[in-house]
Amino acid sequence: MDYYRGDQRAGITAPDLMQRCSFSEHIVRARGKRTCYSSVSLDRHAIERFGECDYLVLQDGLHRDNHDLVQHAALVGHLEQAARERDKAERRLSIQALRYARLRREGLIAWNFKLDGVERKNVISWAYDKVQEYFQRC
């Protein structure tokens, strides 16, 4: 199944690879707008970071370079489990994330870049250059 993302004409918004968080925290943007994940969708118009144009996710490249594409069904299953089995903040965020993930038909890319030698202050701009090759304008 194809995944899409709406984003700026200039390119895909970089993830913040230093911002580690749970799937639910990413989906509800509890920790900020950028995290170590990138949101994508089965619906071409559902994920629109600025939304100037649509991009297709190049899944072969992700697989080749050992990045993980968390499929929509798997993501929903994960959130359902967290909503059932966790409590307090994890549960509350998971319930809300479940709702949003279904609405957006969302999947996630979990990036597995090696950050050796990348200065902390440069991580976002470094990631910007790196992630472009996994998307194609459509």
């Binding site: 994920i47 970071r49 600025f50 359902e80 965020l93 949003y100």
Partner: protein
Amino acid sequence: MLNADELFSCRNCIQNCAQSLNIGRGAGFCLRHNSVLWAPEETTCKYLHRKDLPKFLVDEGLREHAAEFAEFSGIVSFHLHKPISLIYYSQKFAWEKRIFDPLTNVLAQYHKSGPAWIFVESFSGGVDGRRSIVHSCLVRRYMDNCDTWKSSYGLVLAFLQEIDADPHFGSTDLRSESDSADEALWDVIFARFSLLQEYGWHAGLEELRWVTDHINGPLESFDWPALRRELGQLKVQLTDHVIHHAESEGVFFDHQEPDTGRH
């Protein structure tokens, strides 16, 4: 369709009480800036207080957002990072622009009205979905401005009695004709939970701070009829809890009506 950026827009802010991600059409109104919001899905500001989740659960994201827009004192275009001129509301303006909305018209009188808590209380009762989300936003806003539970427990007790009320929506209450009333319903339900959680946070009451942990299956399966039955039972316990806490703190209606200032 829900765009993740909209979580940080005026649509999802408690200061724009009569709209949400799925509720309310056209222009909104910001109580913070006392301004019409011409395109609430495209604007934001550094004071954003999200409707969909309790503030203490998303405070890291809110702080980052505030820093991003720190250089602007007022309303800002979300994507262009440009200031937006305030538009002061008047009935004349609303009629001239053909944007008159009865609920927005009432909210625009907020800063001209008397004690804020009386204005807030006037939104209790009834089954109108838009009024219901206004009510929850106003109570949260009042509590946040007062920064204490002590002036809000009366409002929260009244609110609790309606926690299982079934919100109704007319087709024009929704954000667009293609939107479903189901999603609008969940905007109201989660705004209600967020209110109780924020009260729990202010009061230091874990029972309310994590009130969603008292609800089992219906919440994760988004089963409103079943959730409504559970809430009908839960509200009795929660009401007792709020009263006992206020009594134990020695503030349970032992003074005048809460606050007479404006917030």
